[in-house]
């Protein structure tokens, strides 16, 4: 019977049968101490009984807060990253062509970007704002579409994605200038519209945001 760096007994003598750590490596810092939250014996960075993070507690930094901690929300945090959602921002030629064809007042002034790298944003916290950063107005959206390339049709504070208690997300158009589409249909301003995996959001002159789960 071997003993792993975290103090587990293991029948296997290469990797620990319990935590998988390489056996024969130096012991993990603080192995054997008691968890301050539940009292279980420490066997790694996280308490195996309650999930308490020893590393975060012992570092000089304050414990990590969810991004929108100011709202001091009572909603439970979104479920673990097994169901993590991602917003993928791309330039959508077909949507651009439709906007041009619809012929709004400034439609002709917007040009389709020659180069637009795909941008990915992991959705976390309880709210994720979509817009363009403005230092003067103190707007700093999590999904910042400032670019380059810049889509002038996107409002500074265009929309917000809201975490639902079941781990899914909804979108609310915050009274944007040019509106927001979900899967090709315009959504009413100020109303939460639930999103499903694979839904496509269109805004501005050419911006497409695809919402995916587990991306």
């Amino acid at each position: 019977m071997a003993t792993c760096p975290a103090g587990h007994d293991s029948a296997g003598d290469d990797f620990c049968d319990v935590c998988g750590m390489r056996i024969g490596a130096p012991p993990a810092a603080g192995a054997g101490e008691a968890c301050p939250r539940c009292g279980a014996v420490r066997a790694g960075q996280f308490c195996e009984a309650c999930g308490y993070d020893f590393a975060a507690a012992s570092s000089a930094l304050p414990p990590p807060e969810p991004p929108s901690a100011t709202s001091s929300s009572v909603a439970p945090p979104p479920p673990a990253s097994a169901a993590a959602w991602t917003a993928v921002v791309t330039a959508d030629r077909a949507y651009y062509d439709r906007v041009r064809a619809a012929g709004g007042p400034d439609a002709a002034a917007i040009s389709f970007p020659a180069y637009c790298p795909q941008r990915r944003f992991r959705l976390s916290g309880t709210e994720v704002r979509v817009g363009r950063r403005s230092a003067s107005r103190g707007i700093d959206p999590e999904i910042d579409l400032t670019g380059p390339p810049a889509d002038p049709g996107v409002s500074r504070l265009h929309a917000v994605l809201i975490a639902n208690p079941d781990g899914t997300w909804s979108i609310v158009d915050l009274g944007s200038e040019n509106g927001t589409q979900v899967n090709g249909s315009e959504i009413p301003r100020g109303e939460a519209v639930p999103l499903r995996d694979g839904d496509r959001i269109h805004l501005g002159g050419w911006t497409a945001i695809t919402i995916t789960r587990g991306g």
Partner: protein, 435 residues
């Protein structure tokens, strides 16, 4: 003690994670040893194998002489069944009945039973409806009458499952899960890809279109040869993970994509079994395994997963091979940012299959914008992956303007058979060899 063949398990991954990194991804190549004898607990010959051929006899099979070609194909398949293997033939309409043996048992293949089966099959006429759940239930019942461990069915249909509710078909599929494997073939273009895919995915088989009934005999013969080559039944892929880790996904990625993530059956502490079906000697498949672990300190090494090939034996489970997926935390970014080329290649091919299926679905909904975007993405991915077969099928559905960027236009007119071929074959991958 039965003499089971071994498996070679090769793991291809970048084990290095940055500080705080948690996601470990690896391609696991599993190859059965090419042993010449007939293992699997059964004596030499075919006694370990059982085959049921299910033939659609609905009224629509009359058109285009499909029923005659189906009869020929069934006979061609029966000819390939090894002497000593068990077999039966089922006819399906809105009900199902045993064609041979007529008493709903299984026959042992030899000269006499093949001739008798031929006589019975030639009597098959097309007349009636389609209730595929009934067909599967009868096949399940017939398999119960024989002791063979390698159980495989071929299901042929030309139409939608019209004469029973989707729930009835789903219940029948659930009943058959794990009891036998099933390859499905749709002849013509009036059947539904999603229906047959549900059956073949759950029953660990393949699905394909045979656009021209004349191609059936060759296809049946090939399927039956494939089934006869299998020697080792019901292998499980067992994935052990450390206590705080989560298995994110387990997918077969070659020869075709099959997501097994939701098929996990718990097996002992910290481990789960995923069905890997039956294996032929020398057969090789690739699996993509994703695990999320709790981060350890830089410099530490962890076993993120142990992947074992396990066969159930009377004496208990036997481990036939194993491989290790590791995680090593490093502050060297040159190491941790490197993406394993095989992981990248198969990730792209999985996205390709999804892009095709989503694109075709959008096209059928009339959502041309999404269809153009997804099928365009598919063209670009197929180009990247060098998947020429899929690129060729895509070009029948879209006009390709630029394959590198995936700029395409939807074709105004697409032959139904071309669209269905693209859909059914979207999950076939190009094998990514170790580079």
């Amino acid at each position: 003690m039965t003499n089971l063949p071994g498996f070679t398990v090769d793991v291809d991954q970048n084990p290095y994670l940055p500080a705080g990194g948690r996601d470990v991804s690896a391609i696991v190549t599993v190859t059965a040893d090419a042993t010449g004898d007939a293992p699997g607990g059964g004596p030499a010959g075919g006694a370990g194998s059982a085959e049921v051929i299910i033939v659609d006899c609905s009224g629509s099979m009359k058109s285009g002489n499909k029923i005659a070609q189906a009869r020929e194909a069934t006979l061609a398949a029966v000819d390939v069944i090894r002497d000593g293997a068990w077999f039966a033939i089922v006819a399906g309409t809105s009900t199902a009945w045993p064609v041979y043996p007529a008493d709903g048992s299984m026959a042992v293949a030899d000269m006499r039973t093949r001739t008798e089966a031929g006589r019975a099959v030639r009597q098959l006429r097309a007349n009636g409806g389609t209730a595929i759940g009934q067909w599967l239930r009868l096949a399940h019942q017939i398999f119960q009458s024989c002791p063979a461990a390698l159980r495989h069915a071929i299901l042929l249909t030309d139409g939608e499952n019209q004469h029973e509710k989707p729930e009835q078909l789903a219940a029948a599929i659930a009943l058959c899960e794990g009891a036998f494997r099933c390859d499905c073939r749709g002849v013509g273009t009036d059947w539904k890809v999603s229906e047959l895919r549900k059956i073949s995915a759950t029953l660990l088989g393949t699905v394909d279109i045979v656009p021209d009934p004349a191609g059936l005999a060759a296809d049946f013969e090939e399927m039956m040869r494939g089934a006869m080559s299998k020697r080792l039944p019901d292998v499980m892929l067992r994935v052990w993970t450390p206590q705080t880790a989560v298995v994110k996904f387990v997918k077969q990625v070659a020869p075709a994509i099959a997501d097994l993530t939701d098929r996990r059956a718990p097996s002992g502490a910290q481990a789960g079994d995923y069905p890997a079906g039956a294996w032929a000697p020398g057969e090789s498949r690739d699996y993509h395994v994703g695990v999320q672990v709790t981060a350890a300190n830089v410099g530490q090494e962890m076993l993120a997963a142990r992947v074992s090939l396990v066969a159930a034996a009377p004496s208990g489970d036997q481990v036939l091979g194993r491989g290790l997926i590791r995680a090593i935390w490093t502050d060297d970014e040159a190491l941790s940012t490197r993406i394993n080329p095989r992981v990248a290649a198969y990730t792209g091919q999985a996205e390709l299959a999804a892009a095709i299926q989503e694109g075709l679905e959008a096209r059928n909904r009339g959502d041309e914008e999404t269809a153009t975007a997804r099928l365009g993405r598919a063209v670009a991915l197929a180009h990247q992956a060098g998947n020429e077969e899929t690129a060729r099928l895509l070009a029948k559905v879209v006009d390709v303007v630029d394959e590198a960027t995936g700029t395409v236009r939807l074709k105004k007119k697409v032959a139904a058979a071309d669209e269905m071929a693209l859909d059914t074959r979207s999950t076939k991958t190009v094998r990514v060899r170790k580079g």
